[in-house]
Amino acid sequence: MFDLRAKGGSLSFAAAVSDTASVGLSLFPLGISFGMLVAHTGLDWWWATVFTAVVYAGSLEFLLLGLVASVTPLGQIAVTALLVNLRHVFYALSFPLSRVRPRGRLYATFALTDEAYALTAGSGARSWSGSRILWMQVLLQAYWVTGATAGALAGALLPFDLHGLDFALTALFVVLTIDAWRARRDLPSPLLAAASFAVAVLLAPGQALPVAMGLFTAGLLVRYALRDRGASPEAGSEPRAGAAPEAGEPEPRVPVAATARGE
């Protein structure tokens, strides 16, 4: 696929192993719970491997399992995939793709998960080489796929049903909410999100997720427009250097457009 064994490749691998240790500790057990859910849904164990290797978007995979279990129309699955993963669009604003060699970029974008993004957003990642970034992503996916496969095999062997395992997904999102809140204590955002969800459940119970996310995004845009107008009427059209994502993020000032166009 791509050549990771460049000069210093084994050093990059060793570095990536320690880079990913903490995230791997949570990805592996979460993969196990996903695999057990696959078995619990009644699918063959190897679907856990296929889901995690091919789709590779944790939160979507959990949701997808529920959708395919009730044979949801493919169109609705496509809309769900689009809306659940829409947040990944913003990762392109700061992920250091330009450091990865062109052939590796196919994988680097494929495996640009929340966790991979979070690791490269840390201040220590500023000096990471392209192959260290790629190894980091390969290892993260390896933990996830291995965990899911092991969980599905274990789930298929267990003589009894484990109830309540789906709570792992709620716990994951609650933990991610707390972490996101710690990164940026912006109270209106979660309030707006909660209100959007309440309205969506009342107005469109069958489509609560896309409607809630749409309302939330619209609400943020309205908030931006209102606040902006109050602050300075011209600000909306001015590119603002200070509006870079994440506080103090080491954003490499490399024009990604030039490098990404090669794909």
Partner: protein, 109 residues
């Protein structure tokens, strides 16, 4: 039980959309890297999106009766409490989930 063909189609569609969302913005958004409104959204969206996803999963698996609701509330409190205290996602997720599995399995047994 969904057919293998349907499952494969669902997997391929989800993978293609996910990859598109991750790869295309590098070309499309590049001129907007300094856009004020996108920068603001990138900062403000994560906490709200995660909260909506958490609420959605709770709503999807809403408890059928009071004992089940108590089990969910207790597991949620444990997950949040662990995470506020330890800041360790593994402990928090595993702790809340193990408790929920034990409680739910006992309730249905």
């Amino acid at each position: 039980m969904p057919s293998p063909l349907y499952l494969a189609a669902a997997v391929v569609i989800s993978a293609a959309i996910t990859w598109g969302l991750r790869a295309l913005p590098f070309a499309v958004l590049a001129p907007l890297r300094r856009s004020a409104v996108l920068g603001r959204l990138a900062v403000q969206m994560p906490v709200g999106i995660m909260l909506i996803l958490a609420l959605y999963t709770l709503h999807q698996n809403r408890p059928a009766d009071w004992p089940a609701a108590a089990a969910t509330a207790l597991s949620l409190a444990v997950a949040v409490g662990l995470h506020l205290k330890t800041r360790n996602a593994v402990f928090s997720i595993l702790g809340g989930t193990v408790l929920h599995v034990v409680l739910a399995t006992c309730l249905t047994a």
